[in-house]
Amino acid sequence: MTRYLILRILAAVPVLLGITLVVFVILSLIPGDPAMAILGSYSTPENVAQLNQQLGLDRPLFQRYFIWLGNILQGDFGRSFALNRPVIDEIIERFHATLILSGTAFLICSLLGIMAGVISATRQYSWADKFITFSVLIGISVPSFFLGMMMILYFAVQLRWFPASGMYALYGGGGLSDLLSHLVMPALALAAVATGVIARLSRAAMLEVLRLDFIRTARAKGAPERRVILRHALRHAIVSILPVLGLQAGFVLSGAVYIEIVFQWPGVGRMLVDAILARDIILVQGGVLFVASCYVIFNIIVDAAQLWLDPRVKS
């Protein structure tokens, strides 16, 4: 098991390097001279040349890549000119908020999705199944940003159950209950699509497993139905659901960009959109690199979980 994990982590290294390469290349494709942009009206040819030398921009591309990579590895992601602060500080602050939002949404979609799938499969063609199937169809068809807006209209404006935006109340907020009341709507809106996808997949996986021989063995033992469903069928179905959970985590992370805009959540997604509109490329670069790397690491964790759940992988 340890050996497999080490191999898996080693296999992630080239992917991580590839990510840095993609991000770096994209950055260097930007038209225009960065030194000129920074100097603005001070950009005399001498000044530009001097700054280029200072920034190392006069060196060949591949050299610049390694210098940049070296800085990244030391935690230096550069400086955001729009915010005038180190990129890494901004990212860590913002990522904290994104993690709370996406993490909650991920938990909701995993638990709710699997639960709905199991109920749907075990009561196939019942009213519960039809209701779930219908909700899933709606869930996967509503764009998350539209769903978020509708939720604001109904639950925040009409019913006044939850605050419409932000992560904490502007005045007197800050506690856990304040955070939770702000979190409910964006987390649900963000989880909707993934919940649908996971519910669908879980239903199909359960139906498939319930046909297998070892289910018949469990029944022949006289196991109660609940045990057959949970201990035997679901335990086996989880193995095929898990990789999709990893995939859906990527979609949740992506959807967070929209949800953060709709609910004014101070996360990385909103930071990225603002940075793009402000042409703050260094910040975009750092944010994309950071989040993509976290996603790679998350997928290693998913693989480790898979290994733990399925003893057959080891051999």
Binding site: I19, V23, R219, I281, D310
Partner: protein, 623 residues
């Protein structure tokens, strides 16, 4: 064509198709509707509500006509989404074909690059691209297309790989065709379906993604506007004038839902398992719907089965898997149920405790008396008291009948635990170890911690037997327990079963197609053909003097040691289809003693000299 009818029959898919078609037609015809210019600003009409004068769907924050903007925006969104899908499909397919066809280093480089692209959460990559190119609808289109390339590349590469390695491509290569014509005329036609399916599953996404980028203000820039930017602009007035966001939002929802419904319909239509009902959930106990009156059964020994009938009902068609099966087993007795595959042996065995998967199975008649109780009259919870506790099973393939993810210890103690919750973990484990010793497993402690995939076939079947023994049942039903094993292992398993049966006075229903195995273990034999027992009697008598032509033929199939001259003879013809059984004797078409009377009416069971027999010829013989 069949596919199309199947999609149409799927009401939801048809609904989706109609909705999409409607949206498509309207957006195609938008220029000829003569709508107001979508960009004409008229501040006197700001935020006019729907059904207002001159503005059917009202007006937005600049007083622009929402209906006109909606239709033009839909048109733009659809065009951009489809264009992105076409670009992604073309580029992705090209990469996939190159990687799959040429393989080697090119394949490795291309696929590793694809892996890197897929390591990004999709929107991050799109954002990075838009960040470089700058916000505009065209750039959003490019970003969305690039993000979706990996999906096509992977699918197409897989399909290409499969085709490129096939024999006919190898033959075409050898015949000296040039690569280009090979790719175009041999490979492409086979890839089209893969590309079309990938296209149909992603085009909805791409419409949504481009709309999403526009919503964020990174796609279409004013005055140009698609559905996403309409929604984005509407958001500013969400609380005061919700109609400006609701209308474009509902349109996006309708488009995506239409695509999803149609896509699901296509996928379902393509999935053969759904058509066959193979994805129906099996009930915990076989459905019972017995014809009345029930047969009057004379109780003989431990288990007396009479007139048992089990049907399979698939897509309105009924297949009679077992037809009027009767037999009995005494305490400590071993009855062998013999027959070819498909003769109904296993269905008979599984019917006893309602383990035949239902749907499609329905038990339609008969009685199963176990110690005086009719098992077929039991509710599920009552049946559970018999399953595994008084009647236990050993299944054919220990490979698939043990749970692959539970260790042996858990699987053993589960059998005890579900019937006796009073035992502690340590007592349970001690009992499990004893069970393993009973089936002659040498190092039970080690095996307890193992998983099935770590053990040999013979070992797994011993565990199957140990599980069956767990609660000291009165009857063990062994369904071809040795078929999946090597011959040497077969002998060991048989030996273990025989010994346990003798030592514990177990009744054993032993199911097999192998006469040699049956001869070793059973006291009595019942021979099944096409869902009926055609002959039953003591093992010795039946093997020495078979009376039914089928039994005789079955025995003639066996090569016999020491009788070199007699060649084994195969039975003419093949077993009948259960969906289409003849009125008379089911064996008649293959029987060498057939008479016209055989095929006229169903043959009844007769008792002759301690033997039960379903044959008229024998009646005449001994009459």
């Amino acid at each position: 064509m069949e596919l199309v009818t199947r999609i149409i029959r799927n009401r939801l898919a048809a609904f989706g198709a109609v909705m999409l078609l409607l949206i498509l037609i309207v957006s195609l015809l938008t220029p000829v509707f003569g709508l107001t210019d979508p960009n004409v600003i008229d501040t006197s009409n700001r935020f006019m509500l729907p059904f207002g004068e001159g503005h059917l769907l009202g007006a937005d924050h600049l007083g622009r006509d929402i209906l006109s903007r909606l239709l033009w925006g839909t048109r733009l969104s659809l065009m951009v989404g489809v264009a992105a899908a076409i670009i992604a499909a073309t580029a992705g397919s090209l990469i996939g074909i190159l990687a799959g066809y040429y393989g080697g280093r090119l394949d490795m480089i291309l696929m590793r690059s694809i892996d890197v692209l897929m390591a990004f959460p999709y929107i991050l990559l799109a954002l990075a691209i838009v960040a470089v190119l700058g916000p505009s609808l065209m750039n959003a289109l490019i970003a969305v297309a690039i993000v979706n390339i990996p999906f096509f590349a992977r699918n197409v590469r897989g399909a290409t790989l499969a085709i490129a390695q096939s024999d006919y491509i190898a033959a075409a290569k050898l015949s000296g065709r040039n690569t280009f014509s090979l790719l175009l005329f041999e490979l492409m036609p086979n890839l089209i379906s893969v590309i079309v399916v990938a296209f149909s599953t992603t085009v909805g996404w791409m419409i949504l993604e481009t709309a999403g980028l526009s919503f964020l203000g990174l796609g279409s820039q004013p005055p140009q506007s698609d559905l996403g930017s309409m929604l984005g602009e509407g958001r500013a007035a969400l609380i005061t004038h919700p109609h400006t966001s609701l209308i474009p939002g509902i349109m996006i929802f309708a488009i995506v839902m239409g695509i999803n419904l149609l896509g699901d319909g296509i996928r379902d239509a393509l999935d053969p398992r759904l058509a066959k009902g193979a994805l129906r959930r099996a009930l915990p106990i076989t459905k019972i719907d017995r014809d009345l009156p029930l047969p009057r059964t004379e109780e003989r020994g431990l288990l007396s089965v009479s007139g048992l009938k089990t049907d399979f009902q698939i897509a309105g068609k009924t297949t009679k898997a077992i037809r009027d099966v009767s037999f009995h087993i005494g305490r400590g007795e071993c009855l062998a149920l013999v027959g070819e595959s498909g003769s109904g042996k296993s269905v008979t065995a599984l019917s006893l405790t309602g383990l035949v998967a239902s749907p499609p199975a329905v038990i339609t008649g008969g009685k199963i008396l176990f110690e005086g109780t009719d098992l077929l009259s039991l509710k599920f919870e009552q049946m559970r008291e018999y399953r595994g506790k008084r009647i236990a099973y050993v299944f054919q393939d220990p490979n698939s009948s043990l749970h692959p993810l539970h260790n042996i210890c858990d699987q053993l103690i589960e059998s005890i635990k579900v019937h006796d919750g009073s035992m502690g973990r340590r007592a349970l484990e001690a009992k499990a170890v004893q069970l393993l010793k009973d089936v002659r497993i040498a190092s039970p402690e080690r095996v307890m911690k193992s998983y099935p995939h770590e053990l040999s076939g013979g070992m797994r079947q011993r565990i199957g037997i140990a599980i069956a023994l767990a609660n000291d049942p009165e009857l063990i039903i062994a369904d071809e327990p040795t078929t999946a094993l090597d011959v040497t292992v077969q002998a060991q398993i048989l030996h273990i079963l025989k010994r346990l049966q003798r030592e514990r006075g177990l009744a054993l229903l032993f199911i097999s197609h192998d006469m040699n195995v049956v001869a070793q273990i059973s006291d009595r034999i019942a021979v099944m053909y096409a869902g009926q027992i055609v002959e039953a009697g003591s093992t010795k008598a039946v093997l020495e003097k078979p009376r039914h032509p089928y039994t005789k033929a079955l025995l003639d199939c066996l090569p016999q040691l020491g009788k070199g001259q007699a060649m084994p003879r195969a039975i003419n013809g093949s077993p009948p289809l259960l969906e289409d059984l003849p009125d008379g004797c089911a064996f008649a078409p293959r029987c060498s003693f057939v008479t016209p009377a055989c095929q006229k009416r169903p043959i009844d069971v007769n008792l002759i000299g301690g033997r039960s027999l379903r044959c008229i010829r024998m009646e005449l013989d001994d009459g």
